[in-house]
Chain length 110, copies 2
Amino acid sequence: MSNSKLYKGSLNTIILKLLNENDKMYGYEITQKVKELTKGELKITEGALYPALHKLEAQGLLDVEVAKVDNRLRKYYKLTENGTKETANKLEELAEYIKTMQTLVNPKLA
Amino acid sequence: MSNSKLYKGSLNTIILKLLNENDKMYGYEITQKVKELTKGELKITEGALYPALHKLEAQGLLDVEVAKVDNRLRKYYKLTENGTKETANKLEELAEYIKTMQTLVNPKLA
DNA sequence: CAAATATACATAATTTTCTTATGTATAAGT
DNA sequence: ACTTATACATAAGAAAATTATGTATATTTG
């Protein structure tokens, strides 16, 4: 992620959530989707994305399937069963994090 | 921060916001306040807090004042003028981050 | 009254997670 | 022809935590 002053630790949640919605996606597609959804506000860098995908795969949360399109390589990732469970956990964590930050930062609304 | 699976990068925002509300606080007090406000959900570790305070001071965002209470040392921190400005920036950033994450993770609500 | 817990600071080693820089290769636009 | 887009990858370095220690005093508890 770059140009955004964001918070470390949210990349995995983003990846998992997108795969939960879109069944299967490849890396470059994820970067474009995030750019599109956030209207350019959030740009996922390749240096962050690819290692993250590899790690999620190594953890058994993603399956990979290689394809060749227009003579170019694509690696399609999809959630495993554990990946789907972990997605739910991560989303729960994010919701709690946001709630916690709001109690700290805007106690009147909490 | 620990026991919370939170997102790195939010500690400075928390510190600045608390000092914005409470005029002056010392390190240990901050850890207790956060624990109290979040009902134990968020625990700021000393290993994270003290270096963060030193860095904010070095950046000119905090002033420090040493006191001795009950024969024990306390270092009271308070916002400088720049610190107050930076607090507003950090809170704005946090609000934007939360909004961005919600568009990604819950597009229906965004 | 001894031991454990709380208060209050600090730093070093390590880990996690990112940015920045670089590299390879093909396809499409100008 | 040259630049931009597509598509992957990794290495070096920075930032921000965690975990593990260390020092010292005060208070609570068995």
